[in-house]
């Protein structure tokens, strides 16, 4: 299913999120099961399935990483469930260092400051990668697509680290 088509939007990485949001609500207002509550059983089921699709599509286009993956999938490059090991030693080293920093938060005198500083680092590098990803996805050639796929794989590491950081922060607060 082409999610961009569903929202009648151009299949590009740069996307007007406000526009996406208002189109999402427009579709929801038409297809939500609550609008079909006096319909037949079959029509109600169709409404549930259709809104499930719309929700899924919106969820995927809203987030840059999922949007990029969907864009690549439409171009015939599927990376969402791949099992593949990474071979960029420099990148892996950097990841290990960040992980060590995360593990050290507990021992630091001012954990909040450390969390903030790691958060800033992650944010910066993530934004830089997202920018490269956007550029790579503009032209549709197989080299550019491969480059984009690599950037997505790297970004996944950063998103995961950020999740872990949030978890640590949460544990500290509780």
């Amino acid at each position: 299913m082409n999610y961009f088509q569903l929202f009648n939007l151009p299949a590009t990485f740069e996307l007007d999120l406000t526009e996406l949001g208002s189109r999402y609500l427009k579709l929801q207002k038409q297809f939500h099961p609550d609008q079909h509550s006096s319909g037949s059983e079959r029509d109600k089921l169709l409404a549930v399935q259709q809104t499930a699709n719309i929700n899924d599509a919106y969820h995927s286009l809203k987030q840059p990483l999922l949007r990029a993956e969907h864009l690549l999938a439409l171009r015939g490059l599927k990376i969402s469930h791949e099992q593949r090991s990474f071979t960029d030693p420099q990148f892996l080293m950097q990841q290990m260092e960040l992980r060590e920093q995360l593990a050290d938060i507990d021992n630091s005198a001012d954990p909040d400051a450390v969390i903030d500083s790691i958060d800033r680092q992650l944010q910066q590098q993530k934004n830089a990668l997202l920018k490269q990803l956007g550029a790579a996805l503009v032209t549709e050639t197989s080299e550019q697509d491969q480059l984009a796929a690599d950037l997505i794989r790297k970004l996944k590491f950063f998103f995961k680290l950020q999740q872990e950081l949030e978890l640590i922060e949460q544990q500290l607060q509780d």
């Binding site: 099961p33 509550s37 006096s38 169709l46 919106y58 949030e166």
Partner: protein, 618 residues
């Protein structure tokens, strides 16, 4: 025939089409029913003039009593008077071990589910709740002057699948058509939202008798979008009462309380709690084995007793803000729901945490029922405009058991519903034709720490070499938050047969048996009811297909059109008679003939929905 038709603004001009709908707040302590009348949503009073019905059911040898009269017997006949049954909904017997000390009646094991031993035999929570629902529906029918076409029942946002299903089963048993299970905080926001035209991000803090919910919603142009929800389905004002009871026991030295004493102490505790809302200290006398003993409790002591409980709710507020990716400054309003929010400590702590004075202009006991009534009025079709849209989320993650007792999340919490996610499985043995799946709900890594929802057995997978069969299992959660599962083998397209064993729920057969066994439905009534249900469904199919034909018959070939028209003629003929099976068959035949047509129309409407319209209209 009426010569003059006067319609309310915004409502149908044909009064005979006005349908009766009600919103029901099925609460732990009290339940209410509300309806929209003359354009205004109001709670409805029973024949005694009371609109709050205590959620209490008493079984005597030959009768069932609900509400105030049952409550009055709570002390003398504690064993047969069921209070706070909501806490038992969708629960296994083992899970309720802690509650056993707290409830003044006998809990028993009914095929793994918790049930109550009464003078009328073993009653399960679904049956008890059905009595409360039937009483409320009766109040509504009498006030509105006719049988209800449909109801909206509210549930805590935090209710899991088993608890929601149990609520729906109770409604079925009470003979009600549930148009929607609505989350309580969403209902409360709906009540306030339409009143004040509020826009922005709001928090709904709902502390009822037995459950606590905190939800964050975004309101804009009639859209109520739940961003995150959290809470504790076993924390509420009842716990405040129990904290006071413990205190009373310490004061009097009464270590063991009989069921009857427990009831007395709880009633006293509630009175003391309520008085401390207005006053700084309260004196009372506590009945003990040695006679009455004087007691005292001041506000400060009371607040110490409950401060850990209130803190727990604030922690949940923090968590839910985190889930929504927001901070407390983003919240423009806080809506207070539930009688327990009258406790000053609760109000102060909530005000301090969100740094805003909470909204209390609608009675916190009634606000949920009022919101439910507003939504019921929309869903039944009395208000045809699609102005409001409620986008709810799933409160707890759904996952599958994998190797080594670990869970794999399939649908994470706070995902917007309805939602469908598919997962593929392969066979690991040659010729394997069946597969077992265990679905759990919760956030933890280990299956044992999550709540078991159901075990599924997929049968009828075509025999193939190991890894050859790919079964695609689709988990679908509907707008009520209820899960259903379908499975298909990919290479052969064979639909695998699914057998569901709910871990803490009644199977469809058990519900059917209960319906048949219920005193309210003699055999003949059952037949009449089933017939009416089929006739209503037949009418809906006729209406839907006729309308589709009027709009889009161009999408059909001449042969298709003819076949469908024939099926419709047949369906309207069969509908007049009283053969349930024949009506059912005619509906299925019509559905089968129009499946493709419906899919084509859906595609077309999705395509046209976003073209040729100005986006500002949204």
């Amino acid at each position: 025939m009426a010569l003059l038709q006067i319609a309310e603004p915004g409502q149908s001009a044909a009064p005979h089409q006005h349908k009766l709908a009600a919103g029901i707040d099925l609460g732990t302590t009290n339940s209410l029913v509300a309806a929209v009348r003359s354009g205004e949503a109001k709670t409805l009073a029973n024949s005694q003039g009371r609109d709050m019905l205590p959620s209490v059911v008493r079984y005597t040898a030959d009768r069932v009593v609900v509400g105030d009269a049952a409550m009055a017997a709570a002390v003398e006949d504690a064993d047969n008077t069921i209070v706070s049954v909501k806490r038992l909904m969708g629960k296994g017997y083992q899970e309720t071990a802690a509650l056993k000390q707290q409830v003044p009646y006998r809990l028993v094991d009914q095929h793994g589910l918790v049930a109550i031993d009464t003078v009328q035999g073993v009653k399960n929570p679904v049956e008890v709740s059905a009595e409360i629902l039937a009483t409320l529906a009766n109040t509504a029918s009498e006030t509105l002057g006719g049988e209800l076409n449909g109801v909206v029942i509210t549930v805590p946002a935090y209710f899991d699948d088993a608890q929601r299903q149990a609520t729906k089963d109770a409604a079925k048993l009470a003979g009600l058509t549930v148009m929607r299970l609505l989350n309580e905080p969403t209902a409360a926001a709906l009540a306030y939202g339409l009143d004040s035209g509020q826009e922005g991000i709001i928090a709904v803090y709902d502390l009822g008798g037995g459950t606590f919910d905190i939800s964050i919603l975004r309101l804009r142009r009639g859209v109520f979008e739940v961003l995150a929800t959290g809470g504790d389905s076993a924390l509420g004002g009842d716990d405040f009462d129990h904290a006071i009871v413990n205190y009373l026991q310490q004061q009097t030295g009464e270590a063991e309380l009989s069921h009857q004493q427990m009831r007395q102490y709880l009633t006293l505790a509630r009175q003391v709690k309520e008085q401390l809302t207005e006053r700084d200290d309260v004196s009372f006398s506590v009945p003990t084995a040695r006679g009455d003993v004087d007691g005292k409790l001041n506000k400060t002591n009371f607040e110490q007793l409950i401060s850990a409980l209130v803190k727990k709710t604030i922690r949940a507020c923090r968590q839910v803000l985190r889930d929504a990716g927001l901070s407390n400054e983003d919240i423009v309003k806080v809506v207070m729901v539930g009688g327990s929010t009258r406790v000053p400590l609760v109000r102060n702590q909530v005000a301090a945490f969100f740094a805003t004075e909470p909204l209390t202009s609608i009675d916190p006991d009634k606000v949920v029922a009022i919101g439910a009534a507003i939504q019921a009025n929309v869903l039944v079709g009395n208000k045809a405009d699609g102005d409001t849209l409620l986008l709810d989320v799933i409160p707890l993650s759904l996952g599958l058991e994998t190797m080594g007792g670990l869970t794999e999340k399939i649908i994470p919490r706070n995902t917007v519903i309805p939602v469908a996610r598919a997962q593929e499985f392969t066979t690991f043995k040659d010729g394997q034709t069946a597969m077992a799946l265990h679905v759990v709900q919760g956030e933890r890594e280990l299956v044992d720490d999550c709540r078991s929802l159901a075990r599924f057995e997929l049968r009828g997978i075509p025999a193939m070499p190991a890894g050859g069969a790919h079964v695609r299992v689709t988990f679908q959660v509907d707008a009520d938050g209820l899960l259903s599962v379908t499975a298909q083998e990919k290479s052969s397209g064979v639909q695998a047969n699914i057998q569901v064993k709910p871990s803490y729920g009644l199977s469809d057969e058990q519900v059917a048996t209960m319906l048949k066994g219920s005193m309210q439905y003699a055999r003949q009534d059952m037949q009449i009811r089933l017939l009416r249900e089929q006739q209503v469904e037949a009418e809906r199919v006729l209406e839907a297909v006729s309308q589709a034909l009027r709009a889009d018959s161009a999408l059909l070939g001449i042969d298709e059109l003819e076949a469908i028209e024939q099926a419709l003629t047949e369906l309207s003929r069969v509908k007049q008679a009283d053969d349930i099976a024949a009506i059912k068959a005619a509906i299925e035949h019509t559905n089968h003939l129009t499946d493709d047509f419906a899919a084509r129309r859906m595609d077309q409407s999705v395509r046209s929905a976003l073209t040729g319209h100005n986006v500002d209209e949204v």
